[in-house]
């Protein structure tokens, strides 16, 4: 190593494993920051009449919480899994276009810094919601530089995510090892293909929309007409709904891998899964205006129909996951617990989503806490459980050691209790008419008890994350060697050392299906 090689690698490595880990750590840091904002919000809402923060600060908190979680945590960590795992799963030495993924990581970091720099500006951080709806976000209603910094942050972070997704897709198209045909791609890699397709065609629209919003704030004339706000919403939600699936598919893939391995069975219904994930992704590109069902003039029948049709591919995915478990020798290790938690809790988020795809019901539930509960069941109670299933599953591959099983079970139990305590009462609050994005509510409405339960639940979630952090520290300081394949994995990443060498593989096993290591074990029997 030369004197410059070490710092050069520290800031400019193009190794997919380092990029995956860095993107993951960046996302987790923003998760912690966004989580603290959520705790502050829930503390404010615990009882009526509390003034822990001012109403203006509360607006900043929910804007930055939503922005951080979506632009800086769930989307990047989903891509981080892809950056680390896709080259290993397809038998590649590195990402195709790894340097673009490197540029993407830096753009993500710089975007996050830009977004959060608003807290240092006069008047505080942006307070225009994570969607930045015009005219709320125009220069008249939201003066000051914080909103501009927020717009810049969204542009930079999303451009970074676009570059990462492009690199992952290029790897899936052109980086596969000989024998790794498309119908031999592991389930996780298929979900990454669907994810990156959505990123490639939805994220550019967001970047352009944010640039237009910036122009609107400087000079006006972009969203000025009577249709301007509706056009903004069409443009924003064309990104804003597919991104929900960008934050979902990789975790379905992770859960699919975990369930297959911990059931000791080959993934059930693989071919149906491949077609249905593409159909799922296409439908998810066509449902965006269900966020606008209450706006006059929106073609509610089309968007309600496509939103309801989502239940078909979703049903196929669930059927495949349950079918994989059927008749298997199920091991209830921590990754499997999180995978099962994902299945149950995402179902609640999904089914309530079908309810509000119905225009009459959406007219009632729109803008209420019912919606808040619904999307937190999909994103936190759902996707984050899928994320932890994946983290516990692949941790030994990344570090060579095991996370502690006991602490992992505590983490799972506390997170399951915490998420349900936090978000289930919010369905009831929405039913009773509590609007979202309010900093306070009158005592006479009787919402105090449910809000208090929800706040206590959020503290339990925070404790569960602390337990996870302790688990990570313990595992890193007192490593328990995991070996190369502690779970009996099915896919190529388990055919190399833990952690993998710089070139990933010394030799690849024969690839005759989407589960080549399972093929080997079956042949040996």
């Amino acid at each position: 190593l030369t004197a410059t090689a070490v710092p050069r690698r520290a800031v400019a490595t193009a190794d997919h494993k380092a990029l995956g880990i860095r993107t993951g750590l960046t996302a987790l840091a923003f998760f912690a920051a966004g989580g603290l904002l959520a705790i502050a919000m829930r503390t404010e809402l615990a009882q009526p009449g509390l003034q822990v923060v001012s109403h203006h600060t509360y607006n900043e908190l929910f804007t930055m919480h939503g922005s951080t979680m979506i632009y800086l945590f769930v989307t990047p960590i989903a891509l981080a899994l892809g950056l680390y795992l896709v080259p290993l799963q397809v038998g590649a030495r590195n990402l195709v276009g790894a340097r673009w993924a490197l540029a993407g990581w830096w753009l993500l970091v710089l975007g996050g810094v830009a977004m959060w720099s608003g807290f240092l500006m006069q008047g505080g951080a942006a307070d225009v919601t994570w969607s930045g709806f015009d005219p709320l976000s125009d220069a008249v209603n939201s003066p000051g530089r914080a909103t501009d910094a927020w717009i810049h942050g969204v542009i930079l972070a999303s451009t970074g995510e676009l570059l990462m997704a492009g690199s992952i897709m290029a790897t899936l198209i052109r980086g596969r090892a000989p024998g790794m045909t498309m119908l031999r791609l592991p389930v996780f890699s298929w979900t990454m293909l669907a994810t990156t397709l959505m990123v490639l065609f939805a994220f550019p629209v967001l970047i352009v929309t944010m640039a237009l919003l910036w122009v609107e704030r400087q000079w006006g004339g972009v969203f000025d007409g009577p249709d301007g706000p509706v056009i903004y919403q069409h443009l924003f939600w064309f990104y804003g709904h597919p991104v929900v699936y960008v934050m979902f598919f990789p975790f379905v893939g992770a859960v699919g891998e975990v369930i297959a391995v911990f059931s000791g069975r080959r993934f059930f219904g693989y071919r149906w899964f491949t077609v249905s994930i593409l159909l799922f992704a296409a439908l998810s590109m066509s449902v965006w205006a269900h966020h606008m069902l209450t706006i006059p003039g929106v073609a509610v029948r089309y968007f309600s129909l496509t939103s309801t049709l989502l239940i078909i591919p979703a049903g196929i995915e669930y059927f495949d996951l349950i079918g994989t478990m059927a008749g298997g020798r199920i091991r209830l290790a921590v990754p499997m617990l999180f995978a099962l938690g994902f299945l149950v809790q995402f179902l609640i988020g999904g089914i309530t989503g079908i309810w509000i795809a119905s225009p009459p019901l959406d007219n009632h539930a729109n803008n209420s806490y019912f919606i808040v509960a619904h999307f937190h069941y999909t994103l936190l109670a759902g996707s984050v459980f899928g994320l932890f299933a994946g983290l516990y599953h692949w941790w030994p591959k990344v570090t060579g050691g095991l996370l502690r099983e006991g602490l992992g079970r505590w983490h799972f139990a506390l997170l399951a209790i915490g998420t349900n305590l936090t978000f289930f009462p919010q369905f009831l609050l929405g039913q009773e008419g509590m609007a979202r994005r309010i900093a306070d509510y009158p005592d006479r409405l009787g919402w105090g008890d449910l809000n208090l339960i929800s706040t206590i639940g959020s503290y339990v979630i925070a404790v569960s994350m602390f337990v996870f952090a302790v688990n990570v520290v313990v595992a890193l300081h007192r490593p328990v060697p995991a070996g190369d394949d502690p779970w009996g994995g099915h896919t190529l990443e388990w055919a190399t050392t833990s952690p993998p060498p710089a070139h990933n593989f010394d030799a690849l096993p024969p690839i005759r299906s989407f589960a080549p290591l399972l093929d080997l074990r079956e042949a040996q029997r």
Partner: protein, 105 residues
């Protein structure tokens, strides 16, 4: 089935969903957005079909990092002023040029 055919299948799904919009009298901007995505996906399928296996890449790349900082300066320059815009544009051009000339592994 090669990768481009799967991408083309996805373009077909998007095109079918765009066609369905005409039955329901959906706003023109919605048709343009989804139809545009369908056409873009078709173009991506064509690129995927034409692309070849790539060569190796360098294990680290300061110019790629330079591209990211250049883009950030460009974006921030829109607020700060022309001098930063010029700095950002210069850094992007210089870094992109270097990335393209960088030796491969």
């Amino acid at each position: 089935v090669s990768a481009w055919r799967w991408i083309a299948l996805w373009a077909g799904f998007l095109a079918a969903l765009t066609a369905l919009m005409f039955v329901f009298d959906v706003a023109r901007i919605a048709v343009l957005l989804l139809g545009g995505a369908a056409l873009g996906t078709l173009a991506l399928a064509a690129v995927a079909a034409a692309s070849r296996r790539t060569r190796g890449e360098p294990s680290s790349s300061l110019p790629a990092m330079g591209v990211a900082f250049g883009i950030a300066l460009l974006v921030a320059g829109s607020e700060v002023g022309p001098w930063m815009l010029a700095l950002g544009a210069g850094l992007v051009v210089l870094s992109l040029g270097t990335v393209l000339r960088e030796p491969r592994a």
